[in-house]
Amino acid sequence: MDYESFLADVQERGRFRSRDECVFVTATVLRAVAEVLPMAHVESFASNVPQELMVYLRGAHQEPDPYFDSNLFLGWVLATVDVTGGRDKTEGGLDLFVAYSTDEAADRCRCVFSTLKSALDDRQSELISIHLPDSIQQIYADS
């Protein structure tokens, strides 16, 4: 799968408004993956992941932080949800963005994971899965 096909697939799954937004989501999810994927495994994906996206995976660490958990992972992805200047319009401090942000971040992960899984072979897919934090692993499995 080439870069443009990858992005088009993610955009279709996530119904993202623009290609730029899709690029941002894809990059952020893959950079989060790079946080948990040991550097030693990264090049094994080069055969099936477009070179433009391998750049993000190559940001991996020699030894990933063992305490990098699901919350940190979602924290990376949440940066793609645009609420700059957003205001809480609800009474009593009930912020609906906060209430739904976990679901939104999980959905965005799911879109990128689905496309990624379709590009990878089973061995590569398993290698990604085993390094993901627990609840992200579940999202990956459901994608």
Binding site: T28, R31, Y67, G75, L78, A79, G86, S101
Partner: protein
């Protein structure tokens, strides 16, 4: 029988209301890891906080906790430490609470050197009040209260602490919880005021200083870096924007703590003498104390 402390001993039943992905989760976990590593049990430590998202932290730990008013956790923590120097006193608050509303207390704690650990959850924004620029927001940062961009120069907490005389100054990143836990361990072991400025994204209201924004800029201090050298520390303290150093930037383990210099404490801590009562429980022994303090 001696048993190893389990990190789960610090878990609380309180419902967590932080946004998913908030850096506060990593700080909470790292603090628990550090206390576990040091074998400090819940009853041996006190966590004092102010007001803000991160200041909810004591509620999310099974530990002695005290949420104070905005900006005041440092004086309250100093008081607690003076009353009971045997207690490990840890302050956790945000950049607004520590450097803005509590800026005065921050300065004087640096020069006073009480033996307390100060963890600042620095997300460069006021999150609980839904996104106003804070003392550490970078110049030009657009928020609801700075629609044309923040006018003021941002505060460099590490540089301020260094010039104010702090004896332990460190910076870490919420995206590296293992590193953070190791820094917290060293800070708690340090005898004196220790500042840990934790770079921490606010995933909801700060869309500039994200995890990847920090990841592109942070670097760990090299192994041959000497944190006891004030000149080296000064150079690192002013590094910001393109390259941001993480680790123990400065430490002076020779300085006396504030408590060590308070004459009445040389005879023992006030609370220790009170606690001796517990060794010989007797009905009614606490009644005079209640009358004295309540």
């Amino acid at each position: 029988m001696v048993t190893r402390l389990d990190i789960k001993a610090f878990d609380s039943d309180a419902e967590n209301t932080w946004c998913a992905g908030c850096g506060d989760f990593a700080i909470l976990r790292s603090l628990k890891l550090a206390l576990t590593e040091l074998g400090i049990a819940s009853h041996e430590a006190l966590v004092v906080s102010g007001i803000g998202c991160g200041s909810k932290l004591p509620d999310y730990m099974h530990i002695n906790g005290y949420m104070t008013i905005h900006g005041r956790p440092l004086p309250v923590a100093t008081g607690a430490k003076l009353a009971n120097p045997d207690l490990h006193v840890i302050v956790v608050d945000g950049d607004g609470d520590a450097y803005g509303i509590g800026g005065n207390h921050f300065l004087h704690s640096c020069r006073r050197n009480p033996n307390i650990t100060h963890i600042v959850e620095d997300n460069q924004i006021y999150g609980l009040t839904k996104g106003q620029y804070s003392p550490t927001s970078d110049r030009g940062f657009v928020t609801t209260t700075s629609p044309d961009g923040a006018i003021e120069q941002s505060l460099l907490p590490v540089a301020v602490a260094l010039s104010a005389g702090a004896t332990f100054i460190a910076r870490t990143f919420a995206g590296d919880p293992k590193h953070m836990a190791a820094v917290i361990v060293e800070a708690i072991k340090h005898q004196g005021y220790s500042l840990i400025d934790v770079l921490q994204p606010c995933v909801t209201f700060n869309r500039v200083n994200t995890y990847d924004w920090y990841r592109e800029r942070v670097y760990k201090l090299p192994e041959d870096y000497d944190p006891t050298d004030p000149d080296s520390a000064r150079a690192r303290a002013y590094e910001w924007e393109d390259r941001i150093p993480l680790g123990i930037i400065y430490r002076n383990d020779e300085a006396q703590t504030y408590e060590e210099q308070v004459a009445p404490l040389k005879a023992g801590s006030p609370l220790s003498s009170v606690l001796k009562l517990q060794k010989d429980p007797a009905p009614g022994q606490y009644e005079p104390l209640k009358e004295q303090f309540l």
